[in-house]
């Protein structure tokens, strides 16, 4: 019993440490920290975020068909009806983006908390509910440029601009999953989708006559969103131990009414004050319809193989925020993933390497952007490690992904991405059943 509490305490400390660190970085002033990601996240409402567990990411899939009764997931509401344990989970991401074009190179890094989810089995493996907070899109770019102006005294004044963006669209979601029978499960999850995006432009001059200048542009707005899920499960397909799961989820498109305000700092009546530049602008931001579908085959209790796909209709998501550059435009996004897992911890072996779950996968993402008729696609290679408690079903999943995004041809940008993900699942932490003496 003491060992069990020790592990849970360790998980809790780790979870709160990393979550606090991530939130701290996310909420800090963007002018003072290193926290930037993909350059392509500058466009519109940001780059679509993968809200998968580290386990799902290591498989290269969305996870809609990954039938799992022991840990929770955001991928398919239908899976919440199959949960055995009350579970709290959170995911964290640490990514490094090495971007190059034909002229220059930059290195950006980003650490962020991805999601926070609580699932409760109201009726064990029959009906469960979920509450979660997670990002849908993320904008966290940063770019420098320089220029020269000639002032009234015919002097050349050099300046550097530092443009960065942070935030995106997030969802607070409440939903349920219903495991109708051993073959069919369905789920529904309404959510409040809210946008909170900030784009900052800073200017630095080489003359004291021109002071440091910054302008913050903030976009806010919210609306309701709806997500549906279904899971079909069948056993004894090719032998007595195998089974297959076929899962799907669908998200309805939404349009968010936005308000954009621009703010800067000025010395007014000898006091530094924040002031609004102009009146707030009203507009809209669209999130596209999304369909996820896939299957996972379990040949035995030790191995599973998944193949899944995602479709997002970004071509129908043009909005007022997509004005950054006419040379970028939205396009429909298709993502295909293939991965497998091996579960040696189920063998009861005492060797150290048998304590983990191993996974690997590959995926292709056509991307939601195209420039000069060329899609900004990404090829991902991923691998992962799961640490499963021998005393309960709490787990820590780690994954590493390497992505190749875009191209340098046609004056475009190529990004090499290293991404590390951590998911922590705490099961039944709040629901101890006291042992009888």
């Amino acid at each position: 019993m003491k060992k069990i509490n020790l592990y849970k305490a360790l998980y809790l400390v780790l979870l709160f440490f990393v979550f606090s660190l991530s939130q701290g970085f996310a909420q800090s002033d963007s002018r003072s920290i290193n926290s930037s990601g993909s350059f392509y996240s500058l466009y519109g409402v940001g780059f679509p975020t993968e809200n998968n567990t580290a386990r799902e990411l290591s498989l290269g899939i969305s996870g809609v068909s990954l039938d799992n009764t022991q840990s929770n997931t955001l991928s398919n509401p239908a899976l919440w009806g199959k949960n055995t344990y009350a579970t709290t989970s959170s995911g964290f991401n640490l990514s490094q983006y090495n971007a190059t074009d034909n002229n220059s190179e930059s290195l950006n890094s980003d650490i962020s908390a991805r999601y926070l989810q609580l699932t409760l089995p109201i009726f064990r493996q029959k009906f469960g509910i979920s509450a979660s907070l997670y990002p849908v899109t993320s904008s966290n770019y940063r770019s420098f440029d320089s220029g020269t102006i000639v002032n009234s005294e015919n002097e050349s004044i050099e300046y550097v601009s530092d443009m960065s963006g942070s935030g995106g669209i997030n969802k607070f979601e409440l939903g349920f999953g219903w495991n109708i029978n051993k073959n069919i499960a369905v789920g529904y999850a309404p959510s409040l989708a809210f946008i909170s995006q900030e784009n900052t432009t800073e200017l630095f001059f080489d003359q004291n006559d021109y002071p440091y200048n910054y302008v913050d542009s903030k976009v806010t707005g919210s609306t309701f969103s709806h997500r549906f899920g279904a899971l079909l499960s069948f056993e004894n397909i090719l032998n007595d131990d195998d089974r297959i799961s076929i899962g799907s989820s669908f998200i309805l498109p939404v349009e968010i009414s936005t308000k954009q305000s621009t703010e800067t700092s000025r010395m007014i009546n000898n006091q530094q004050q924040n002031v609004a530049l102009g009146q707030p602008l009203s507009g809209n931001a669209k999130l596209p319809a999304e369909l996820n579908a896939g299957l996972t085959y379990y040949p035995s209790n030790f191995v599973n193989i998944s193949m899944e796909g995602k479709f997002q209709q970004w071509s129908d998501a043009q909005s007022d925020l997509n004005t950054n550059d006419a040379s970028l435009e939205l396009t429909d996004r298709v993502k295909l993933g293939l991965g497998g897992e091996y579960h040696p911890y189920r063998t009861n072996s005492m060797s150290f390497l048998s304590n983990f779950r191993y996974s690997g996968g590959v995926s292709y993402d056509s991307g939601h952007l195209k420039a000069q008729d060329q899609e900004i696609n990404t090829l991902w290679f991923s691998a992962g490690l799961g640490i499963i408690s021998r005393f309960n079903n709490s787990s820590v999943d780690l994954s590493v992904q390497h992505g190749l995004r875009g191209t340098t041809s046609n004056d475009l940008i190529r990004e090499k991405i290293w991404s590390f993900n951590l998911s922590v699942n705490l099961t039944e932490l709040m629901f101890f059943r006291p042992k009888l003496n």
């Binding site: 990393v18 220029g147 530049l277």
Partner: protein, 404 residues
């Protein structure tokens, strides 16, 4: 610790190290600058055409300097200044050896070592008279014509190239001063203040330059029969000025004088500014005023000089009640002379911020030559009728995103 626990501990340490390592690795560059709406810096020039003049009177008493002499300036008119001074009533201490019944009195004058206004080669003669009306240094203004008794000169001196003079003063005036000096009347101080008016240094008609007296180094010296000396400082000093034929300058420029006889009043186009820049990201706003330095320089014959003007002083509104604040306390803005070009400029960024966000409604900028020292200075600033490059202008630098 079991092997499993050791392995888990290693994983956590590795994870933490990765966080530190990756977060430290950031080198954002200009990758993709072609795809992003980088801000550009834009410079607008707003020519100011609502410009008039304002005529005020500067304070001229009890400043660090006062002016004496006369000069015919081709551009700025014929100037005649009369210096005023009044010694303090010296308090002879009990037991003093100084013989206050038998002494003479002299005036020691120190001129500014570098500044002269006019023909430096000319010789100016001055006569010192007793003033015949009451004046007070703290309230003296440049147009206060103080009368003096020309029938009874108190002393005289000439200014050539020397900067320091000692002038003997008349016995009659000395005796008058001695009356108060030796008085046992309890009201002697008060009587001295109201009945003894001081001296005026009046230029004779032969000179063609204005000399600048250094008040801190001007004193009266009393010398008794035993050659004991006492230095006596000033209780008040000042000058008044007469200027005639002053309309001889260029028509497209406005004369500014440190006497505030004339100032430039610029009425800023507030509506145009609000409509055009209220929602703009203003980096800098600068008021530029060009000096008619070519005309000024061409009007000076050989050996003639004017005290230089290195800055213009600007205020948001000045009336006769506000002259003291403007002249003595300090102006709202100072426009400094550009080191290479003949113009003055001052930042108006804070002012525009106050207009747009701080409720400032005053649109009148008064441009003048504040002189807290008393040195006579003048210049010409081009007005709205000058050629475009010389007109008063507001240069506004903004940062603009291409999408704007």
């Amino acid at each position: 610790m079991t092997n499993t626990n050791k392995g888990l501990s290693s994983l956590y340490i590795t994870l933490f190290a990765l966080i530190l390592f990756f977060n430290g690795c950031e080198d954002p560059g200009n990758v993709g600058s072609g795809f992003i709406d980088e801000p550009t810096v834009k410079i607008d020039t707003l020519y100011l055409d609502d410009i008039t003049t304002e005529n005020l009177e500067a304070y001229s008493g009890n400043l660090a300097n006062f002016n004496i002499g006369q000069y015919s300036d081709q551009l700025l008119g014929d100037i005649r200044t009369v210096g005023l001074m009044k010694p303090v009533l010296h308090n002879l201490s009990t037991g003093s050896d100084f013989n206050s019944e038998d002494f003479s009195i002299k005036l020691e004058i120190q001129l500014d070592s570098t500044l002269t206004y006019g023909d430096t080669s000319s010789v100016s003669d001055f006569t010192i008279y007793e003033t015949s009306s009451l004046w007070r240094g703290n309230s003296l203004r440049i147009n206060d014509a103080i009368t003096y008794n020309e029938s009874e000169p108190v002393g005289s001196f000439s200014v050539n190239t020397d900067k320091r003079f000692t002038v003997g003063l008349s016995e009659t005036w000395k005796d008058k001063y001695a009356t108060y000096l030796n008085s046992d009347d309890a009201n002697a101080d008060s009587l001295y203040r109201y009945e003894f008016f001081g001296l005026a240094i009046v230029p004779d008609n032969n000179g063609n330059k204005v000399s600048i007296v250094d008040r801190p180094n001007l004193r009266f010296i009393m010398v008794d029969a035993a050659d004991d000396t006492i230095g006596v400082g000033l209780s008040s000093s000042g000058y008044f000025l007469e200027r005639t034929n002053s309309n001889s300058g260029p028509a497209d420029a406005i004369a500014l004088h440190s006497t505030l006889e004339q100032m430039m009043r610029i009425n800023l186009p507030m509506e145009e500014l609000k409509e055009g820049y209220n929602d703009k990201n203003i980096l800098k706003a600068e008021l530029v005023l060009h000096e008619a330095n070519d005309v000024l320089a061409a009007s000076l014959p050989e050996n003639h000089v004017r005290p230089p003007v290195n800055e213009l002083t600007l205020n948001l509104g000045v009336n006769s009640e506000q002259v003291y604040q403007y002249q003595i306390t300090g102006p709202d803005f100072v426009a400094n002379r550009n080191t290479d070009n003949p113009y003055f400029s001052t930042s108006m960024t804070a002012y525009l911020n106050n207009v747009f966000f701080g409720g400032e409604t005053n649109s009148n900028i008064y441009v003048g030559l504040r002189s807290s020292s008393g040195v006579l200075r003048s210049t010409y600033i081009y007005n709205q009728t000058a050629s475009q490059e010389l007109r008063p202008k507001l240069i506004i630098t903004t940062a603009v995103n291409e999408e704007n």
